[in-house]
Amino acid sequence: MIDSKLVLWGQTVGYTAYVLAVMAGMAGYAYKVTRDGSLKQIPNAVFYVVVGALVAVGVSLHIVTHETIPWKKLDLNRATIAADKTFEIRAADHKFQLPPEKMTIVAGEKVLFKVTSDDLTYGFGVFRPDHSMLFQMQVLPGHMNDILWHFEAPGLYTIRSTEYSGPKGLQMIEKDVIEVVEKSPEALP
């Protein structure tokens, strides 16, 4: 599965290029609008082309991500996909209550996290050692909050609440509690 870091890198490059292009375009417009020129009436066709482009971008963005970001389909269809492992986690009084067994995952496994809250709205985020985020979801009291994730990269991962639940929520960090290990050579095809 494509790593979320790669998607974020792509977004960084794409959005930065867009920002620079728009700023340069606006600077050019600001200069030209103060100068006289022969073309004063913009043809209607230009306007309709812009409208068409906006519609195309607006519609295609979500189709493109549906086809290229793997966890999108995984998330929408999680009820019908069998998980290799399931971990149940409770949140209450600004603390995560983790499963008694160590959360060890073999790279390539699909893991279902089922998180419930006894009191407040919290968040459930899984982070890499460099503090970048692998994924997150909200944790609402009175509801089952579940997410299916396909782990690929071996390493230690930290859980922290990604939603504000009062100042006490700052302590909701469980460092290196998920370990993803390499697939054993025997298990390789």
Binding site: V33, T65, G166, L170
Partner: protein
């Protein structure tokens, strides 16, 4: 004139508060209140920016989160609502060519916005009531963390703001529809239908093409005001709900939190909040762009009928987009996430892109234009939304939201660039344009300070959003404090950009005070000496 004389009497002693009409005074009061609260919001923002570089001892987490809770509310209600309501209460009668329905109600609106904002701000400051603008149930009623008395005053302050808002809504629609004494009878129903877009909708299905009875800017104000009214209703209802829990707690009867479903509450509240963020802000801003473009260029708006239709679509879209805030809520139905969260939200790219294009083409038709303060700030505002709207569309995607939600990306390149660069620069454009009209020809103290204001604000706003966004893409969460310098590099750069915003505001504030003088500022709040319903003094 010496510096001291100018400080007291204003530039060239041109501003005479005694010569202001009651309408001018009312509008200027709103502007002064809005700017003062904006200054508080900027100061709060700087405290938070610095705290994210390194936690500051005077602002421990309890206090930090009280600031975080009050900050957007001060910015929206205390500052933006004040400036926008003041401007619209002047512009609607100006554009409709008739007096405001009630000057008294307008002045009460100003008072309720100022006093209500002070009440909730002070309640948060003193009691550290910090339930994140009451967003997530049952946090607002979590009295193990927050003071119930402080919370009661906080909610009371919000309610006062909403009362002022309701008065504004009534005043706008009554001004559009009523017949002033001495005027020929006006068709209230037809005026209302035109303002809301029903006439335009009818034209699509009818061969008979009736003229629009209200101008495009009035239509924009009216449609944005529908969202303002709906939002006030949601916030008032929510406030009452929270107050019920508070009153019960004070009387020794704790109510069960589970009586209110957290997901339902979240849907309800975000539906209401999006009437501001994705409703009235976008509609008012588009209307302001159209108005400013026609005023600056002196030309008819390009594709006016399409612009009208887009405003109507924007209003309907704003009622149906809220689910993009719940894409990380796994209990939220997937169909709502896709239809409301992804698809309908994408319409905002189209409607706002249309407004952007129409405004630029209208200005282009009048070139060469002089790069005046209103024009440069208008272009800044357009740029802000051109950057912020696509950032929002990206996070309103199920795939990207999974790795962006609640990071600094949301609040940086999207929220702060939209609000500070897009919205605020559009408002500054209107303020610079209206300044001579509202002050009967007072002169700006310094154009160099206006230029400093423009560049500091533009670069500060974009820079802050960019560095917050970069931190977000590297995993930095919003609404979180970091104690080990995890993201201090980005946060130092964001704080430096924030200080440019502060510099820009101080340059603007000083420039305005020196233009009208301290005597003038005080005079704005004294009763008007002219007894007239006219907007400006008759020659």
């Amino acid at each position: 004139m010496t510096f001291l004389q100018t400080l007291i009497r204003g530039t060239k002693d041109l501003f005479k508060p005694d010569g202001l009409t009651p309408m001018q005074k009312m509008t200027l009061r709103f502007v002064v209140v809005g700017l003062l609260w904006y200054g508080i919001a900027v100061a709060e923002g700087m405290i938070m920016r610095l705290s994210l570089v390194k936690p500051l001892p005077p602002f421990p987490p309890g206090h930090y989160y009280a600031i975080l809770t009050a900050h957007p509310l001060v910015g929206i209600f205390g500052s933006t609502y004040s400036v926008v309501f003041g401007a619209f209460l002047f512009l609607v009668p100006f554009l409709m060519k008739k007096p405001l329905w009630s000057l008294k109600a307008a002045n009460w609106t100003c008072f309720f916005l100022a006093f209500g904002t002070f009440t909730f701000w002070a309640a948060g400051f003193i009691s550290h009531y910090a339930p994140l603008y009451t967003l997530y149930w049952p946090l607002p009623a979590d009295f193990t963390q927050f003071s119930v008395v402080g919370g009661t005053f906080f909610i009371l302050g919000i309610a006062l703001v909403m009362v002022g808002t309701v008065l504004f809504v009534i005043n706008v629609f009554k001004t559009v529809t009523y017949t002033p004494a001495g005027f020929p009878p006006q068709p209230a129903g037809a005026l209302l239908a035109s303002a809301l877009g029903l006439t335009g909708l009818k034209r699509v299905f009818s061969r008979e093409k009736k003229d629009h009875l209200v101008s495009l800017p009035v239509a924009a104000i009216a449609r944005g005001t529908v969202d303002t009214a709906l939002n006030a209703g949601i916030i008032l209802f929510t406030g009452v709900l929270i107050l019920v829990y508070m009153v019960a707690e004070l009387s020794g009867h704790s109510l069960k939190h589970s009586a209110v479903d957290a997901l339902l509450y979240k849907n309800w509240f975000w539906w209401g909040l999006d009437l501001i963020a994705d409703g009235l802000v976008l509609i008012y801003v588009a209307g302001a762009w159209y108005l400013m473009a026609t005023l600056i260029s002196g030309k008819k708006l390009f594709m006016e009928n399409i612009a009208r239709a887009a405003l109507f679509v924007e209003m309907v879209v704003s009622w149906t987009v809220w689910s993009h805030h719940l894409m990380s809520d796994q209990a939220q139905p997937g169909i709502l996430k896709i239809l409301s969260g992804e698809m309908v939200t994408a319409f905002e790219l189209i409607t706002q892109g249309l407004a952007f294009t129409i405004t630029l083409i209208t200005l282009w038709s009048a070139r060469p234009l002089k790069m005046t303060n209103p024009l440069k700030f208008l272009l800044g505002g357009l740029l802000g939304f051109a950057l912020a709207v696509p950032a929002g569309i990206m996070q309103a995607d199920l795939g990207l939201n999974r790795i962006l939600h609640n990071t600094q990306w949301i609040v940086g390149p999207h929220v702060h660039v939209a609000v500070l660069v897009g919205l605020t620069m559009t408002l500054y454009s209107a303020v610079y344009y209206l300044f001579p009209l509202l002050t009967n020809g007072a002169e700006l103290y310094s154009q160099k300070l206006a230029n400093l204001h423009f560049w500091s604000h533009l670069l500060g706003g974009i820079g802050m959003g960019a560095f917050m966004g970069m931190a977000g893409l590297h995993g930095m969460l919003r609404r979180t404090m970091y104690f080990n310098g995890e993201f201090s590099g980005y946060m130092i750069l964001a704080a430096l950009s924030g200080s440019l915003l502060l510099l820009g505001f101080l340059a603007f504030f000083f420039n305005i005070v020196m233009s009208v003088g301290l005597r003038g500022v005080i005079g704005i709040f004294l009763p008007a000496k002219l007894n007239t319903k006219d907007l400006v003094p008759s020659a």
